[in-house]
Amino acid sequence: MGAAPAHAVDVFVEVNPNTIQAGYAVVIRASCGDSVNPGTVKSDAFGEVTLVHQYGFLTATVTVPTNTRPRGYTVKLTCPTGSSATTTLWVVGMPAPTRGPHTGGGWLAVGGGSDRGLGGMTLVGGGLAVVGVGAGLGLLLRRRRAGAAR
């Protein structure tokens, strides 16, 4: 996952994850093609960092400072050859309240009905009514038959 890599003949940079809470770290993964010397990555979100070779890519782990303003930041790779690539890192500043949201009015708790109430109630009522009509009709027919037999 992470931001869509910006490819240009083997020169690309991506940030994983592509969105981060200010104060947390992200991993940069890049390539400068065949270049032996590592490139540098620059962004207003974390400053400048020189990448290191790891597992066939150029990488670095950077921490986005806590006070970083929430928005999208351009992340630019510059290779020793002069070629470059960019991607975007989105920073959020998301307070994480320990207290949960007030998501109830109380109707279900004060006997407003079970959560499947309406549909079930209607079906039970309707069903019993149909049974009643059937039984009534049955009785009527029986009485008629008895009348006719007399």
């Binding site: 996952m1 989105w90 998501t103 708790a109 059937g134």
Partner: protein, 199 residues
């Protein structure tokens, strides 16, 4: 009429019993009615997306189809909720990631209002593997799969698990649950659905 009589009576009684049985099943939760809404013409998206605000949420398994509007923080520091008068509306916490970006998008909805059930009143009956579809302003539909359904004391939410996992596009649906204690608290617990995009 006479020849028709007996079969008619029998079929009426049987149909009635069937309906009543179905109703009882509904009431006790043993026979859920199938979701009859449309199957949202959702096409899953492949990778992590750029930000775009969510506008609609659909949860076929529990018959939810609702608008999503941004909410911030309430005066007491909790995530704000839509007004109780809009029972079918959900709120997306606009300080966090949008659905489809890496990180946990948070959508809150009421369990009930003062006089009736609300949009998330069946949230706790969701099961792992069921899907939640969120439509964004850019018309992309992000399909999340439920990982777990959990209940926490409203005063002690697990902050790291709910708000701080940025390793993938995630979704947290939050509503109320547990005992009604009234006052400022309302219900004692929060029901939280943890979901993520399966690639």
């Amino acid at each position: 009429m006479r020849r028709l009589g007996t079969p008619l009576v029998a079929s009426l009684v049987l149909t009635g019993l069937f309906l009543a049985g179905l109703g009882l099943g509904q009431l006790t939760g043993t026979i859920p009615l199938p979701y009859l809404g449309d199957r949202a013409s959702a096409r899953p998206t492949e990778a992590t997306l750029k930000p775009s605000w969510p506008v609609r949420i659909s949860i076929p398994a529990i018959g939810v189809r609702a608008p999503v509007r941004p909410v911030g923080l309430a005066d007491d520091g909790t995530v704000a909720t839509p007004p109780l008068s809009r029972r079918n509306e959900t709120g997306w916490y606009d300080r966090g990631p949008t659905p489809g970006q890496d990180g946990p998008a948070i959508i809150v909805g009421h369990l009930d209002t003062k006089d009736g059930p609300a949009v998330f009143h069946r949230l706790a009956s969701l099961r792992p593997g069921q899907v939640v579809q969120v439509t964004r302003r850019d018309h992309k539909v992000v399909v999340f799969t439920v990982d777990s359904v959990e209940t926490f004391d409203k005063a002690r939410l697990p902050v790291e698990r709910i708000y701080r996992d940025f390793s993938r596009p995630g979704l947290r649906l939050i509503t109320c649950g547990g005992r009604w204690v009234g006052g400022e608290t309302g219900y004692a617990d929060n029901v939280v659905i943890f979901a993520s995009v399966k690639l």
